[in-house]
Subunit: 211 residues, 2 copies
């Protein structure tokens, strides 16, 4: 399939780019910085150089699936703005768009969202915007019937590392064998590519966890 | 003041354009169709010809206040997309932006939103999207601390007509002397210009009603 990855030089985007390439797909990395992309993805990587906010429907519809792995941890409002921009461009389109979301909207064992726990933590001012906007992104996607979207959340700890064994769920925060909530970028990439090749979660969010 | 009105050829936008002009402000109509704008606003109207989605920060920041009166009743998702586009462009900006919202997010006497009533009406499929997206627009604005925004809702019936007497509230659906919820475009324009000249509702929504 023709797959584009926005933010392909980030931790998640790079793992997805590499998993898609390994599986033989025709993969394009949508990036801003050519030198960084060549260094991280290899000299042979197919690049489309664009700021996410300059991407328009005509460009995006060249692909079968677009994966949005854009993430800005310092200016977290840009993550929300990127989602709403892509929603606008993908409305009424058949092209699939897969949004990497945060973990804060996942439901804990006590029935509340992880965000409800995070927002009560003292000293969260420096980082609470990112999960706050992440929750809103999913709310907006769920109010978007005319985009062929899928959301995918990592677990609470989203770490570098290769694929091993993973499991998926819809909305639950999951605990791995060590009793903690985590997923590697490698397992996340496998979960995303499985979903691309065999769609199971059209217009819903799922989550990938380490075993 | 330098005021721009997006959607100045619509019912609300035109009334606001005219009220602002009458009060001596330096008013620019942001429109797509020059001929329509000249016909409706007069040959001397200052026009800026642009699609709302092409408006960028550098253009918008020429003004002291931008009023978003864009409204698409057939493709109501564009109203939401216009709001999120403007939020993106106005982040971290001092320039004020006033969003004309719908009435569906107003609170009825029984404590529920007008939308909660509308969504239960049989046969609402043809028009429920517009109030549904309108509610979401306000939710998103309320989650936007870094834009100098004000929201203004009409009442349930928003009709052509001149200014007479009006009153304002924050979030309540109001009943006029005839026991019905309505506001004319003329009264709405007076309420908006009063707010522009004497800011009372920074980062909140207010509503204007006929007396």
């Amino acid at each position: 399939m023709k797959i584009a990855v926005i933010g392909a030089t980030g931790m998640a985007g790079r793992a997805i780019f590499e998993e898609a390439t390994t599986r033989g797909h025709e993969v394009t990395a949508i990036v801003r910085n050519v030198e960084k992309a060549r260094a991280e993805l290899g000299a042979g990587a197919t690049l489309l150089v664009s700021d996410i906010f300059d991407l328009k429907r005509a460009t995006l519809e060249q692909f079968d699936v677009v994966v949005n792995a854009f993430a800005n941890h310092k200016e977290a409002y840009l993550n929300l703005d990127a989602v709403t921009h892509l929603i606008h461009e993908f409305r009424q389109s058949e092209t699939r768009v897969i949004f990497l979301l945060g973990a804060a909207s996942l439901i804990q064992a006590n029935g509340t969202r992880l965000f409800d726990f995070l927002v009560e933590l003292p000293g969260n001012e420096a980082w609470i915007d990112e999960p706050r906007y992440g929750v809103l992104e999913l709310d907006i996607l769920r109010a978007t019937p005319d985009v062929n979207w899928t959301g995918v959340s990592p677990q609470q700890n989203f770490t570098p590392g290769p694929a091993s064994e993973h499991r998926i769920a819809l909305n639950d925060l999951l605990l791995s064998a060590d009793g903690k909530s985590h997923v590697t970028a490698g397992n996340m990439a496998v979960g995303v590519l499985d979903e691309i090749e065999t769609p199971q979660h059209i217009r819903e969010r799922f989550t990938v966890s380490d075993m």
